[in-house]
Amino acid sequence: MTVHDDPHPESEVEDQGLFSLNESVSSRAYVADIWKRRDFALSLPIEELQSQHLDTFLGNVWHLFDPVINAGIYFLVFGVFLGVGAEVDNFILWLVIGVFAYDLTASTISGGAKSIAGRQGLMRSFRFPRAIVPISNALGHLLSFGFQFLVIIACTFATGIGPSRRWLLLPVVVLLHSAFNLGGSFIAARLNDSYRDMQEIVPFVLRLMRYTTGVMFPVETFFGKNALIDFVVRANPLVQLINFYRWVIIGTDLNIGLSALALIESFAILWFGFRFFRVAEYKYGKA
């Protein structure tokens, strides 16, 4: 190594105020940095929603058609062919709520798993808290859920139930649901970044969950016979989260104990997911 004359002799050098960019910051400072870039976290999914489906004739209407068609198929299979419809009051509304709420979780988590890989260009160009990537993914799915909710409201009026005071609790239910979804996305995002095999596995996990969370038939119908299986299935916070929506809108029964458990579980998943994601903060976007 050739070193030429040092133009800055040691005695004259001032190195005050230098810091490392790789220092791990406190969770508080990290969250503050995310909050500072909240406009960014929100613009990202909005731009994306606008440019999605641009190549299709119906455009953004697909955000609505997709879950409606899904619900239609489940109605045929479970409601008509398998006769679940007769066991549940107001089955159509009950089913639509389940399908839409479950789809929010499924799309948020599978989108979250792929989100880091999909934002490589952005991460290569700019330095920002990487948690914004799964967060903005979750926000985007929440936005389309907002539109889908119009269908739920329409169904509510069509079936003659109408609004009740319980609707005021809807923001709380959405918040809790989002905590669960975001926590799941953080975990899926980090796992998928380390092991790309994850994106092959995630769809299977989500499909299994779809059939065990009471989306198209009440969990009691099939899992109620064995006490242990019944508990394991119903301790899944997603079962209770979906039930919260039904309780708010239709007035189905609420199990207080399991609901409290779901509340704790949802925030525990968010807390764990956030920490789990942050461990690899400086590895995302490396390759």
Partner: protein, 241 residues
């Protein structure tokens, strides 16, 4: 009194890559070894100090570790070992930096600025100036994916310098710009240096480096071969190649 802006202390950056020939599934699962992973030492023990007003040109052949070093300084890649200290958060500008391909150039400017931490108000204030600086005209409302590499570089450069950065890292990003834009970029970089900023420039054009830089770093195989006044380092580099 001169003050440090970047201090790089015995930095190593290793990459794990997957080689084409993979071991059998059984070996991968049972052996742990032979998973097809190989470690590449992209930066292999680099130390130097950069000062305010320094314009450092990085020389070296393809794959010598220049880009990785810049990305480590920018905080985009964590060093495997060693330490990098900076006085301000650097802005990096590289080719292939893409934002949202389907969105228009204008929307990309907005996203980029927000990503850097601008608020909506600051953005509203600056956006016209940035659009003006890109010189893209009507094309600013076309999707980013329709841009040529030169147009992309203009857009990214314009975003990066919209907040006067104290430390600017430029990785081959000016090479694709046309004459007119290179002149504009040079003026911007000179004003940055006049304000006691620090520039790191990776370029395969030694003339561009000579024009903009006062100091040279020659990197080969992830190690520094020479560090000194730009003319001397270019002379050594030229003698070798």
């Amino acid at each position: 009194m001169t003050s440090l802006s970047v201090k790089v202390d015995d930095v190593h950056v290793d990459y794990e890559i997957f080689s084409e020939r993979r071991a059998g599934l059984r070996q991968r699962l049972v052996g742990g070894k032979g998973s097809g992973r190989r470690v590449i030492k992209a930066v292999n023990g680099v130390s130097f100090e950069a000062f305010r007003g320094d314009a450092i040109g990085l020389l070296g052949s393809n794959g010598s570790g220049k880009s990785t070093l810049l990305r480590a300084i920018a905080g985009l890649v964590e060093p495997t070992s060693g330490e990098i200290l900076v006085s301000h958060e650097p802005k990096i500008l590289g080719v292939g930096g893409a934002l949202m391909l389907d969105a228009t150039g204008l929307k990309n400017i907005k996203l980029g600025c927000l990503a850097m931490g601008m608020t909506r108000d600051e953005l509203a204030e600056k956006v016209d100036e940035i659009v003006e600086f890109t010189g893209l005209g009507e094309a600013i409302n076309r999707p980013f994916k329709t841009y040529s590499s030169g147009m992309r570089a203009r857009l990214l450069f314009s975003i990066s310098v919209s907040i006067q950065p104290e430390i600017l890292l430029v990785d081959e990003a000016l090479a694709v710009g046309d004459r007119n834009f290179k002149d504009k970029a040079r003026v911007k970089i000179e004003s940055l240096l006049a304000n006691a900023g620090t520039l790191f420039l990776v370029s395969h054009s030694t003339s561009e480096i000579e024009r903009l830089c006062n100091r040279g770093l020659w990197l080969e195989n992830g190690k520094i071969l020479a560090d000194g006044p730009i003319a001397d380092v270019i002379a050594e580099y030229g003698a070798d190649t």
